[in-house]
Structures are given as structure tokens and as C-alpha cells.
């Protein structure tokens, strides 16, 4: 699947929000929400984008669709650079790229019927007669598993999972190639999450969609994504095919993140697992630390990390990481621990029953 051409190319994307202060409201700094992110999304794949809240993953997703004006960098979607397009021609491109938002309560207009909500993109971008539009809306409702009879109901009459289905149907209306899913399941209950994720996967198989799936739920991303990018403080620290990332994380942050996920594993129930507990909080993106962004919390921090920001390198084919541990120049004595198998082996699992 990965041998295909990239549908979305993101190059050194930066999204800074200015901070104004003082009497004259001069710009005194910037929140570096996304600070130099580079990745490709191949046609037909799902790229998972994970990270803690405030790491810039949603901003990144929105910037990729140019819902913000980029500070710098380039985004190419389906062969066209959208970073500098005028709003008018951008508008015509919206048919190929759509978004599913996090909160299905907030992103649906409470005064519009479901039919009107799903049909709105058709009103904007097509000159179809009303009958044809209605047929398309009904087709979409079938596709996402909503009863056609609910066409004239309002969003408040639906449950959270059904509302998310309405949001998905709206995103699908114009037959897009690329959909950014910004935490589509975060607001839903576990049993409903699985329904929505399965729906997204079925639609992908059926329609050949490409997803950027933004989530903080590492286990759900493992299920849905083909490749996974991990963000920390505005930067992608690791990008790898799913299994490589979950089995052999190369960046200490990914490792810590994975070990922090509590697991409902029957074999482990009632037993204690060795966790890597990170100290402290994420630094403010308005004032990131010098050197590596992660150096303030990293359990494997070295002297060089405080001075030089590690480059985002291809450590192994298809497996990128931004960490000095993987650089033979800086981490010779640490190079053993950067080997793929070593972190796995050192993470002992002692089974003291409580």
C-alpha cells in the first residue's frame, strides 16, 4: 500500500500564533503550535497523528487543510500546493479535502435538519436539481448507517454516535479523496467508539479514502492507522509504520507514551506493570526549551540534548525519529540502548500480585 504516490505532502510546515502585549499591542512572541513538520500521506492509507493535548496535533490537521494561513512551509494536496492559493480557488479544492470534527454536538447547526446539514456542501459546490441532491443525501445516510426516515430531524434528537455519523456523512457528500479526522471518537463512549471506527474503516475500503486520523488514544490509533506520527510540542518526534512504532519505538517520548497507556489485559489484571512515568508537564509552546523540545522531561537526556535540536532523520527505512540517541555522533555509549530490542528487554515486567 505504501508504494503508492503521496496524496498529501507536508514540508516544513510552521504555524505560529502571535502574542501581543503591552500598551501598543506589539507582537512580543509567538506560540509555536506547529514548528517545522514534514510528512507524506500516501493514497489510500491512514496516517495516525498522536500526542498529548497542546502538542499541536489539531492545529497541524487544520493547517493541512489550510483552515489557517500558514506561517511558512508548504502543503501539497493531490498535486496542488495549497499554501498560497487564493480563497476562491481554495474553495473549489475543498471538494477533494474534508474534515470530521471532534465534537459532534458543536459542529452541527442545531437549527438545521439532518438533511440540510448533509446537503449543505452540495448546495455550495454543485448546481444539482433538488431531487438529485436529496437522492445523494439519502444515499449518504445509508452509507453511514442512519435511517433515511430521520432526514427531517434535528441534531439534538440524535445520540453522540449518531451525530458523529451525520458529521461523517457531511464530509463524504462531495466524494473527497482526503479527510482529516480530528479526534472523531474522543467525545464518544467506548462501545460507540468502536462503531464509528468500524464505519470509518468500511468507508475507506469502499471509497478508497485517505485519512489523517488525529487522536490521543494510542490504542485506537494502533487499530486504525497504517503509519503513525507522534507529535511533541509542535514537532513530529517519530514517524513509522504502525507495527514498527508500537513494537520498537525509537524515541524516548514514544516509549514513555506507550508505557503510560493502561491496558485492560486479562493476563496482566491485578498485576503491576513497569511504567515509565515522565516527570513534570509539557513546556509552554510559547517558550520551548533550548535544544531538544523533550530534554526537560526525557529519562535518557544527554548533555548534547540541551544544546542542539536533533534532526528528524530516517533511522531505518520508513522509520523516522528526531533523537540524538539514534545519532552515532552523539550517543556512542548510548547507542546500545537505542538498539531496537534493548528498550524492550530493559522494560522488565515483574509480576508482584497485590
Amino acid at each position: 500500500m505504501n508504494a503508492q504516490r503521496p496524496l498529501v505532502e507536508v514540508r516544513d510546515l510552521k504555524m505560529h500564533f502571535p502574542i501581543h502585549s503591552g500598551l501598543l499591542r506589539r507582537q512580543t512572541g509567538a506560540v509555536k503550535a506547529v514548528d517545522g513538520v514534514t510528512f507524506d500521506i500516501y493514497e489510500g492509507e491512514t496516517l495516525g497523528l498522536v500526542g498529548e493535548s497542546g502538542c499541536g496535533k489539531s492545529t497541524c490537521g487544520r493547517a493541512v487543510l489550510r483552515l489557517y494561513d500558514l506561517t511558512s512551509g508548504e502543503v501539497v494536496v493531490d498535486g496542488r500546493a495549497i499554501g498560497t492559493e487564493s480563497q476562491g480557488s481554495l474553495r473549489r479544492m475543498r471538494t477533494t479535502m474534508q474534515m470530521v470534527f471532534q465534537d459532534p454536538q458543536a459542529c452541527l447547526n442545531p437549527r438545521m435538519t439532518v438533511g440540510a446539514i448533509i446537503g449543505e456542501p452540495l448546495d455550495e459546490h454543485t448546481d444539482w436539481p433538488r431531487k438529485k441532491k436529496r437522492a445523494r443525501v439519502e444515499e449518504l445516510m445509508d452509507q453511514v448507517g442512519l435511517n433515511r426516515a430521520f432526514l427531517n430531524r434535528y441534531p439534538h434528537e440524535f445520540s453522540g454516535g449518531q451525530r458523529q455519523r451525520i458529521g461523517i456523512a457531511r464530509a463524504l457528500a462531495l466524494k473527497p479523496k482526503f479527510i482529516v479526522c480530528d479526534e472523531p471518537i474522543a467525545a464518544l463512549d467506548v462501545s460507540i467508539q468502536a462503531q464509528v471506527v468500524n464505519l470509518l474503516e468500511e468507508l475507506q475500503d469502499e471509497l478508497g479514502l485517505t485519512y489523517l486520523f488525529i487522536s490521543h488514544d494510542l490504542s485506537m490509533v494502533r487499530h486504525i492507522a497504517d503509519r503513525v506520527a507522534v507529535m511533541y510540542l509542535g514537532k513530529v518526534v517519530e514517524l513509522a509504520p504502525r507495527d514498527a512504532l508500537y513494537d520498537e519505538p525509537l524515541h524516548p517520548y514514544t516509549e514513555a507514551l506507550l508505557s503510560a497507556v493502561p491496558e485492560p489485559d486479562p493476563a496482566m489484571a491485578g498485576r503491576k506493570r513497569e511504567r515509565i512515568v515522565l516527570k513534570g508537564d509539557v513546556p509552554s509552546p510559547a517558550n520551548p526549551p533550548a535544544g531538544c523540545n523533550f530534554c526537560t522531561r526525557c529519562p535518557k537526556v544527554m548533555e548534547v540534548c540541551h544544546r542542539i535540536d536533533p534532526a528528524f532523520r530516517e533511522v531505518r527505512p520508513g522509520h523516522f525519529a528526531a533523537c540524538h540517541l539514534n545519532d552515532p555522533r552523539y550517543g556512542p555509549e548510548h547507542s546500545e540502548s537505542a538498539e531496537p530490542t534493548a528498550p524492550e528487554a530493559t522494560r522488565t515486567q515483574h509480576g508482584g500480585t497485590r
Binding site: A194, H223, L257, P264, M268, A269
Partner: protein, 336 residues
């Protein structure tokens, strides 16, 4: 490890809570019974709307009445029925003998008072310490939950703390008066996994040191698997399964528990091609239950499930299930 023979510090029997709404009654809690022993951690799991939070808030009268109404049952805290005591006594219990950690640390701290004031307030109210002693105690508590520079931060306001720090402040307030029972209502749901791991460590550590009983409400089965001694699964305002943590995860008996465990993907082990789903929606709780609340989504439902509400029956030591199906009573690894 809780002593097996200790007397429960909190015992709840047959609790029923009803909300009066314009659209009719909502029976949010139906005959819920459970107990917690000192030093024990009881996990309460369920979807939103399953009655977990309402149950716990009913215990100490935190629900606005009306529209809420506790229709019946007993809440015995060391033998004293909290549903029958005077409001003044209940105020002593709240924050004193029963500590509460709420879900959202952003909204449950008062933004216009300093953090120090909010910790000192219950200490002075319940423990009768003077200002200086209370201040010392507050510093001690903040250090206990791992806030660096605790003394200096007493005069800070909640907005100067990050989410994880605010939740620690909430924990410090809940622990302020050495409660016998700590009720934690989704304390880590609003937090990131790395911060959640920090909070879980603190709670583990505090439980070992202070030996209080903890009721931990969550919808995250992973969290429960890691910290609980016993687990209670709620669905539709009722307890459908209750067992020590190991049997619950290895030998779940109720079809809902089984389905719930199967819907969750993991970060290790085999990856399923397709997630298992529980079809359908959670039930509306418009009336007192007359049939099994899970019947419409249950793959094993049969005639009796539509006619009668199953009672909790003991199927193994300390393990009870509310299900009529024979598989719930016998099978270890059943095909459901």
C-alpha cells in the same frame, strides 16, 4: 492488600435515585448495593449515563433535590445511615469523613480564590485547626501529592496551574481531613496519558500509606485493571457484574462485560482486523426496570430477559452477576 475479614467502612444497600424531569421520571440508579473495606480500591465501570456518578453523589447528598430524589435504600458509613442524618451532620461528613475528587479539575476549583485558601477551608472547618496549623497542613498535603515548591504555590490561583497540577490540588483537598472513604469520579479522564500515569502512581502510593477506602469511577477498563481490587460494572443504572479484578478480566460472566472487554483495542498483543462492536444504544431509563436493561443489545437474550429484571446472583466467591442466561453461571470461555 485489604484484610479479608475487615468490616466494610461504607455499605450501600438497595439505593434508588430518581430524577423528576419535564419529560417524566428518569430512574438513574436502580437498587444499587455495594460495600468497601478500609484500604480497598473498588473500581466502578460503565458508559456515560449508566448511573456511576449519580450513585456516588447520592451517597452524600450532592445532587440537587429537586429534581433528584433518593427513593430508598441505606448508605451506612461505619453503621450510620447517611440518608437519615441531619443536614448539619452531612456537612461534617462531606469533605471530612468522605472525600470527593471530581472529574474536571478546571471547573471544580473556584477561580477567584487561591489554591491555598481552597485547601485550608476544609481543614479549618473539619479539623478545627488555627490558621497557621492549617497552612502547615496545606503545605504538607501539596508536598504529598508532588507539587514542587508547595509553600510558594499556596498563594497561586487555579489558572496558574496546569491540568495535571490542578487535579493534584483536587486530590490534596479531598485528602485534607484524612477521609475514611475517598470517592474519585473519573479523576483522570480529562488528563493526558503521561499525566494520568503520574496521578495513578500518587494514588497507589497514598493508598498504601494512608489506608483509606477508595471508590474509583471510570470508563477506562485499562485504569481499573491496573489499580482496583474489586470491580463493579454498571449498566442502565444497575450493577450487572461485580467481582475481584482478576476474575472479572479473565472470566467475565455478564454479556455486557464480555462485549466491553472485546471492543477495546490495545497497544500490545495481536491486532484485530475489525473491532468488535456492541450494536445499538444504551437504554432510556424512563421507568423502574421491569426487564433486563441490556436485553436489546444482548446476543444471548431470550424470553425471560424481556419479562423480568435479573437479580444479582453469586456465581463464584465474591463474584456476582445479574443475568438469567445459564452461560453466566457456568462457562469459563463461552462463545458469546
Amino acid at each position: 492488600m485489604p484484610a479479608g475479614d475487615a468490616r466494610p467502612v461504607l455499605e450501600v444497600r438497595d439505593l434508588r435515585t430518581v430524577f423528576q424531569t419535564r419529560g417524566g421520571e428518569v430512574h438513574a440508579v436502580n437498587s444499587v448495593s455495594f460495600d468497601v473495606k478500609p484500604g480497598e480500591l473498588l473500581g466502578v465501570v460503565g458508559e456515560s449515563g449508566s448511573g456511576k456518578s449519580v450513585t456516588m453523589m447520592s451517597l452524600v447528598g450532592l445532587l440537587p433535590m429537586p429534581p433528584a430524589e433518593v427513593r430508598g435504600g441505606e448508605v451506612l458509613l461505619d453503621g450510620e445511615d447517611l440518608l437519615k442524618v441531619s443536614p448539619a451532620r452531612l456537612r461534617d461528613v462531606r469533605g471530612g469523613e468522605v472525600g470527593f475528587i471530581f472529574q474536571d479539575p478546571m471547573t471544580s476549583l473556584n477561580p477567584v480564590f487561591t489554591v491555598g485558601f481552597q485547601i485550608i477551608e476544609p481543614i479549618r472547618r473539619h479539623m478545627g485547626l488555627n490558621k497557621r496549623q492549617a497552612r502547615e497542613r496545606a503545605v504538607e498535603l501539596l508536598e504529598l501529592v508532588g507539587i514542587p515548591g508547595a509553600r510558594g504555590r499556596l498563594s497561586d490561583y487555579p489558572h496558574q496551574f496546569s491540568g495535571g497540577m490542578r487535579q493534584r490540588v483536587m486530590i490534596a483537598i479531598a485528602l485534607a481531613c484524612d477521609p475514611k472513604v475517598l470517592i474519585a469520579d473519573e479523576p483522570t479522564t480529562a488528563l493526558d496519558v503521561t499525566i494520568q500515569a503520574q496521578i495513578l502512581e500518587i494514588v497507589e502510593d497514598l493508598r498504601a500509606r494512608l489506608g483509606m477506602a477508595i471508590v474509583w469511577i471510570t470508563h477506562d477498563l485499562g485504569v481499573v485493571a491496573g489499580i482496583a481490587d474489586r470491580v463493579m460494572v454498571m449498566y442502565g443504572g444497575q450493577v450487572v457484574e461485580h467481582a475481584p479484578v482478576h476474575p472479572l478480566f479473565n472470566d467475565p460472566r455478564h454479556p455486557y462485560t464480555r462485549a466491553l472487554l472485546r471492543t477495546i483495542p490495545t497497544v500490545t498483543g495481536a491486532r484485530a482486523d475489525k473491532l468488535q462492536v456492541i450494536e445499538g444504544q444504551p437504554p432510556m431509563l424512563g421507568a423502574a426496570p421491569s426487564a433486563c436493561p441490556f436485553r436489546d443489545r444482548c446476543p444471548l437474550a431470550f424470553d425471560r430477559c424481556h419479562a423480568e429484571n435479573p437479580l444479582r446472583e453469586v456465581v463464584a466467591p465474591n463474584h456476582d452477576v445479574a443475568c438469567f442466561h445459564p452461560l453466566a453461571h457456568t462457562a469459563k470461555e463461552a462463545v458469546a
